[in-house]
């Protein structure tokens, strides 16, 4: 099967490899063909109607195909694999009204809103309260900052180190084009005074960051000529650079 080696896991992405696939005779892959064999062999002797045959096929197929929703913490039973799309759209696309980010549960959405858009939340954090809750429902632990909550998720709940709860959404193409144009024009007009502006800009920015007091990730707001234009994905590598003390 085109399955992943342990080696590959360490190397990164498991690239497509064209492999021959062989199946054992009683493999689930051959199940529907095997059923068909028996149905066809017996249909004359037993006078099966088309309807009965159809039901039998559906029943046998169906037993293999129901599954559970793979979104963490959901566990809803899906009657078929095609069901997942509808289920996902119905239950897992609660989105933030401020930044349009979608979350798979309303609980996670509300945690996001507090952490990313609520100044009261930030104020409490600044005063040392344990505000960052564990994302796993039922755990109940709370932490002083994003980073220690993150560590808890990795250590206790086996989250991947690559998991980032606070990740900004990629802006739409239009938005990015707008940002680009804004950047281009401002670059042209103010190339001479860029140096000064940068300093002022940076000063402003760092001031705002200090307000939030969360010692890692970029804040939800960013200005003009910073490398993070508007809301963009910040690759893990960059985020790690911006960890404590860098702002």
């Amino acid at each position: 099967m085109a399955s992943m080696d342990v080696e590959e896991a360490q190397l990164g992405f498991p690239h497509w490899k064209p492999l021959r696939r062989k199946f054992a005779p009683e493999s689930p892959f051959f199940a529907s063909g095997n059923i068909e064999r028996e149905l066809l062999a017996k249909q004359i002797a037993l006078d099966l109607t088309e309807d009965e045959k159809h039901q039998l096929r559906e029943m046998v197929d169906g037993e293999g195909r129901g599954c559970f929703c793979p979104i963490v913490g959901c566990g809803a039973r899906l009657s078929s694999l095609e069901d997942f799309e509808d289920h996902y759209n119905a239950r897992h696309t609660a989105s933030c009204s401020v930044c349009s980010r979608a979350y798979p549960t309303s609980r996670l959405l509300s945690i996001h809103v507090s952490e990313a858009h609520d100044s009261f939340f930030q104020a409490k954090v600044a005063r040392g309260h344990l505000m960052y809750e564990c994302l796993v429902e039922g755990c109940g632990l709370k932490f002083k900052n994003y980073k220690s909550r993150q560590q808890h998720l990795v250590d206790k709940h086996k989250f991947p180190t690559s998991f980032e709860f606070f990740k900004k959404a990629l802006p739409s193409k239009k938005q990015r084009q707008k940002n680009q144009r804004r950047q281009a024009t401002s670059k042209k007009a103010e190339s001479s005074s860029m140096q000064v502006d940068n300093e002022t800009m940076d000063g402003l920015v760092s001031g705002v960051s200090k307000l939030s007091t969360s010692d890692s990730t970029p804040s939800a707001i960013s200005f003009g000529r910073r490398p993070t234009r508007g809301m963009t994905f910040v690759p893990r590598a960059v985020q790690h650079e911006k960890k404590p003390g860098s702002t």
């Binding site: 690239h15 492999l19 063909g33 059923i35 064999r37 028996e38 979608a102 680009q180 960059v238």
Partner: protein
């Protein structure tokens, strides 16, 4: 619920004026019969309801036996067994006739309905009596009736089939070539049911020497015996232990017989023979290499081209698939691009892809995916054939299990064969194929796979997406993926419980949709 529908398909509405309670019991029985019926239909066992010699003095009953009838049947069966017991003991004048008569009665009761009163027969002690009736020197008629009874006793539930254990050595013995053909065939049928039960019984049959005599029964050119023997053998060698399959191909004359039958036999016989080939090719490397060296591949292709019988096409297609999947060296030596047979194989596979039958479409795509996993020339052959437009259509319209197989074909077409020397694990792309297929709109179909709850499908979708992101010229990849909502699809994995998929999606997003994305437009 399927059960309710099944009940409504009973052909005779139950006319009676019995009380509510009986009515309820009947409905309950209908539900449980529904389930029982389903189980019995998908078993690899077969009831013998019409005699081998075309015994037509009994009307075959396919209607549901209602309560009262069922218990009457059971009572009759018990007394038939009692009757048999007394005549077996009797040694006097006309004993033979009495025995045959009693057996005939029991056999009739065991052949009437879809659910013969096996439990009643066993409880009354039928097996030891039937074993006695199989003793050496018994007249053919007696042997036939006894074997027929045993056949139907073994056609049902596991514990009923297992009850035949004491009878096995005799049944096997009567397969011999010195006996009458109908007797041998009926014994083969009974043994086929026993083999169809499970691995344990198969092993017992094999250790008692059932394989060789059954194999010999396949050597003649025609006759129902050949067909029944082939079916019984297919149950006997299905493993999972490959020993039986390897032993079978070694039987003198067997390979020749397989070839002969695939070439000349009628559809019915060819079907059962093809199933034997299915199991031979799936389990035994020796068999695979012997089959590939013979004319079998050609004959399978011919059957696929000429027939429209689903019953025949399924095992023939699967045999072809197993042979191609089996051993790359031998098959690559035969399926050489440029040889006539190779083009023919692809043609018949396309025919199967175009079939209305789900099983054929899925397994044909599987076979193509294995050919597409071969050399560059193989990929070019498929790429330039009639297959691609069909595959593209199936990728967007077919049920999901077919779409997965199609994805394997298309993806394999876009990636070079893995060379054993390549160290970094990143096979190179066949750009021409990738660009063309993406240009013809296949990316949407792959991203749909990413959105499925099935791990394998999502994996395939993400892997193909990576090819597009990496390989499309002029940095078009990311834009194309974004256009098909690929970014949304990948973002879903942030909260997916599968860590591998999460990492795969994250790494793609990080690499191709980082903060620099769209900057140099």
């Amino acid at each position: 619920m399927a059960d309710d529908n099944t009940a409504s398909h009973r052909r005779d509405p139950i006319k009676s004026s019995v009380a509510n309670v009986a009515g309820q019991r009947r409905r309950q029985q209908a539900v449980s019969v529904g389930k029982e019926r389903r189980e019995s239909l998908v078993r690899a066992k077969r009831l013998c309801r019409v005699g081998i010699s075309g015994d037509s003095d009994d009307t075959v009953d396919s209607e549901m036996i209602i309560d009262e009838e069922q218990s009457i049947l059971e009572a009759q069966t018990s007394s038939a067994v009692e009757g048999l017991k007394s005549v077996v003991a009797y040694q006097g004048k006309g004993a033979l006739q009495k025995r045959v008569s009693a057996l005939h009665e029991l056999r009739r009761l065991l052949s009437r309905s879809e659910f013969p009163p096996v439990e009643a027969a066993l409880k009354a002690g039928a097996i030891p009596l039937l074993v006695q009736c199989l003793s050496f020197g018994s007249p053919d008629e007696q042997l036939l009736e006894a074997a027929w009874c045993l056949t139907n006793i073994a056609a049902g539930k596991p514990e009923e089939t297992k009850a035949l254990l004491p009878a096995l050595p005799l049944l096997i013995a009567h397969l011999g070539e010195n006996g009458s053909l109908p007797v041998a065939e009926q014994c083969a049928w009974a043994l086929g049911n026993v083999a169809g039960e499970g691995e344990e019984l198969r092993n017992i049959l094999l250790s008692q020497g059932a394989l060789l005599p059954l194999a010999r029964m396949m050597l003649p050119n025609k006759g129902s015996t050949v067909r029944t023997a082939a079916w019984a053998l297919s149950n006997l060698i299905k493993g999972p232990n490959p020993k039986a399959a390897t032993e079978l191909i070694r039987v003198d004359g067997l390979l020749d017989a397989l070839v002969r039958h695939l070439r000349k036999a009628d559809d019915e016989l060819a079907t059962e023979v093809a199933w034997v080939v299915v199991y031979l090719s799936a389990l035994s490397n020796l068999a695979t290499s012997m089959l590939v060296k013979s004319d079998v591949l050609q004959l399978l292709v011919q059957r696929l081209a000429m027939s429209n019988s689903l019953q025949l096409l399924i095992p023939v297609l699967r045999s072809l698939g197993n042979l191609i999947a089996g051993d790359s060296q031998t098959t690559q030596a035969v399926i050489v691009p440029g040889h006539e047979i190779t083009g023919n194989i692809i043609e018949v596979l396309v025919k199967c892809l175009n079939s209305e039958h789900r099983v054929l479409k899925k397994e044909a795509a599987w076979v193509l995916s294995n050919i597409a996993a071969g050399s560059v020339e193989h990929k070019q052959l498929i790429y330039s054939s009639e297959a691609v437009p069909v595959l593209l259509r199936l990728l967007s319209t077919a049920p999901f299990d077919i779409r997965k197989e199609v994805a394997y074909v298309l993806g394999n077409l876009c990636v070079s064969p893995i060379s054993p020397t390549e160290g970094d694990g990143k096979p190179s792309l066949i750009l021409e194929h990738l660009v063309s297929l993406v240009g013809r709109g296949c990316l949407a179909g792959f991203i749909d796979l990413v959105n499925l709850a099935d791990t394998e499908a999502a994996r395939l979708g993400l892997q193909f997406t990576e090819l597009v992101l990496r390989g499309m010229p002029n940095g078009e990849g990311p834009k194309l993926v974004e256009k098909e909502n690929g970014i949304d699809a990948m973002e879903r994995f942030q909260f997916h419980e599968n860590e591998d998929l999460r990492n795969m999606a994250n790494s793609l997003v990080d690499k191709y949709f980082g903060e620099d994305y769209g900057l140099d437009e």
